[in-house]
Amino acid sequence: MSLLYSDLQEELRGSVRALLADRCPPSAVLARVETDTPYDLDLWRALTTEIGVAGLLIPESLGGAGATPGEAAVVLEELGRSCAPVPYLTSSVLATTLLLRSGTPAAEKLLADLASGASTAAVAVSLATSPYDVKSSGVTVTADGLTGTVTGVAGAEPADVVLVPADGKIHAVTDFTVHTQVSLDQTRPIATIELDSARSTRIAPDTEPLTYALSRTAALLASEQVGVAEWCFDTTLAYVKERKQFARPIGSYQAIKHRLADLWLDIAKARATARNAAEDDPDEITIAVAQAWTSPVTVHAAEECVQLHGGIGMTWEHPAHLYLKRAKADSIALGTQGDHQDTLAKAANIPATPHGTGH
């Protein structure tokens, strides 16, 4: 197991980065957040048809590329660097992993469509769901179909199908209504999904594939976070070399130099944990470490980006805020640092107090 990037991965990164540089500049991302279509479906089409990102995790037998999580992680790093408004994490990682894990014929049928990008899926759970504490949904199953409301769902707007946990099983639904919520993260808003006697297809007989998929998506989310942190760091580094106050670049002031040295080191550690969590079959500790370390580091990187840009970093026109909002939302998504630390306490045998909760 290597923590470095393979040549193949660097090549993939190059393709994604070039496409994003061309079609997803900060100005375009910023302009889109004011519109009714928060996701950029043209960009998504380009990513899926020109590079084939959607099928990376899907075996060749099901029409995918049969790549490893390491490749998906590199795509996520690049999407994070651009705050790209596409449903990669939600459809090509979360929904895809769920379907792969369930492995039923119905699931495999859906995967074939997802692989090509012809169809997009979302999972009807709150983005804030911790993999360690999956609550039952408010959706009920009757003879008429599925009925109920799920809030906080990411990637719902562009979804053709949603995977809905209900009654202890997982169902695929194509007949649903989406209401975008006013969201902190403007480049990946959350939404409410409403089901009203919706007809469904059974995807899995239990919810284990959901828990599994949430955990594996948390593992790969760390790579998106590394991408976000990297953009913030690189942008800040370039700015402090350029921006002068008192006739000196502000990057010549030692207090700023030392802060950036420490931040660089924190991000280097984050990359190492994210690469480790992008291995084929990461254990619980590996995932928890990646999330528990990377979430606060990414938020810190985005906060330093705003601070070291001074006034301009507080303006809407500068893209720094998009990254701050994404970083903060990502720190809540799929388990907070505390949730992941709690899991570590159990998995790594570091028990709480003898009089404590035993967690």
Partner: protein, 386 residues
């Protein structure tokens, strides 16, 4: 006659309920009860500054200046008093006090934030007038202001602190364009002001040509020392909203957040006590640059507490109140949602002196450590790297 007696006599003669706010304030100005330490005829009595407290106490409940007058009262008035000509004092102080004329300040520029003296807005002499070109930023109230205090560069060939000149700027003059400046919260509390060939008569100059930095120092010294948040009770102020959320939502609590909240509670209380102790010192006549440090502490607390609350709220923390681009004239740190507070608090460590500048101030002026090396003190402004 004692100040106290003057106020009583004034109140006997002026019934605030029988006149407009403007009339009442005008009468108060004429009675010398606007600023008692100002000279007679200019809203004052030439009394000691301490007497103002007596006036405020006795006039409590009567119509007073409103929030939009803050910059005029806090920054423009003392500067006009200190550097204005007799004509200028006569012309500007009364309507500034009554609120008939609103003021804003045109100081910061995109290229001159912490380094204010490096500003680039040019004023060039043209007969009896000056022609001003440049861009100012972070101007609150510019969209409703009648006048501005403005610092410009009149001589680029001398070191930067020497080539500045201070003006009163007519905000209704041709070439003054005000654009709202949208912030990361979605709102615009501030403006950008573009000055294009703005013609100002020499009678609008405040202080001598080239003396602008000294005049601006007077203005800035009068900016209220922000001893973060003022007097609060234990557990109050900036920590109150997150405590409320914590108590209202047992289901959101975790051990991680509990320990982080307890640490911040302790830090908030220690900071509150340090602020109280500083105010005691100021009252006892031991002022100093220590206030900078307290502002530093409150910025950090505001940011960490609001950040913790967003995380605590989980799914609710993923939402936001309203992104609509609109003007906002107040910083609503306590009445708004956690997401707004999280984003708005990021500005606390930038506005009114960045935390980096404040740490320099503490280390140099309080601790006596050597100043940062400066390459810009003796070089003509036009030759400085930028």
């Amino acid at each position: 006659m004692e100040v106290r007696d003057r106020v009583r006599a004034f109140l006997d003669e002026h019934d605030p309920s029988a006149m407009s706010r403007t009339e009442f304030l005008g009468a108060r100005f004429d009675a010398g009860l606007a600023w008692v330490h100002f000279p007679q005829g200019l809203g004052g009595l030439g009394a000691s500054r301490e007497q103002q407290g007596v006036v405020e106490q006795l006039l409590a409940g009567t119509p007073g200046p409103d929030g939009r007058q803050g910059i005029g009262l806090g920054m423009a008035a003392p500067t006009i008093l200190a550097f204005g000509t007799e004509e200028q004092k006569k012309r500007y102080l009364r309507p500034l006090w009554t609120g008939e004329e609103i003021w804003c300040q045109l100081f910061s520029e995109p290229g001159a934030g912490s380094d204010l003296a490096g500003l680039a807005t040019r004023a060039v002499r043209d007969g009896d007038d000056w022609i001003v070109d440049g861009q100012k930023v972070w101007t609150s109230g510019a969209h409703y202001a009648d006048w501005a205090i403005l610092v410009t560069r009149t001589d680029p060939d001398v070191p930067k602190h020497q080539g500045l000149t201070y003006f009163i700027c007519d905000m209704h003059a041709g070439g003054v364009e005000v654009r709202p400046l949208r912030q990361i919260t979605g709102e615009a509390e501030f403006n950008e002001v573009f000055l294009t060939g703005v013609r100002l008569g020499d009678e609008l100059r405040l202080g001598k040509v080239g003396e602008g930095w000294r005049v601006a120092q007077t203005t800035l010294m009068n900016e209220r020392v922000a001893i973060g948040g003022g007097r609060t009770e234990r557990g109050g102020g900036i920590i109150a909203p997150v405590l409320q959320t914590w108590r209202d939502h047992p289901e959101l609590r975790t051990h991680d957040l509990h320990r982080r909240l307890l640490s911040l509670w302790v830090e908030a209380e220690a900071t509150r006590l340090a602020g109280a102790r500083l105010r005691e010192q100021l009252t006892a006549g031991v002022p100093g640059p220590e206030g900078s440090a307290i502002k530093l502490a409150f910025s950090k607390l505001n940011q960490e507490l609001s950040g913790l609350e967003v995380e605590l709220r989980r799914e609710d923390g993923l939402t936001y109140g309203d992104w609509t681009f609109r003007r906002s004239d107040e910083v609503a740190m306590f009445s708004r949602d956690a997401g707004y507070r999280y984003l708005r608090a990021k500005g606390n460590s930038i506005e009114g002196g960045t935390s980096e500048i404040l740490r320099n101030i503490v280390s140099e002026r309080v601790l006596g450590l050597p100043q940062e090396q400066r390459a810009d003190k003796d070089v003509p402004w036009k030759d400085l790297p930028r």
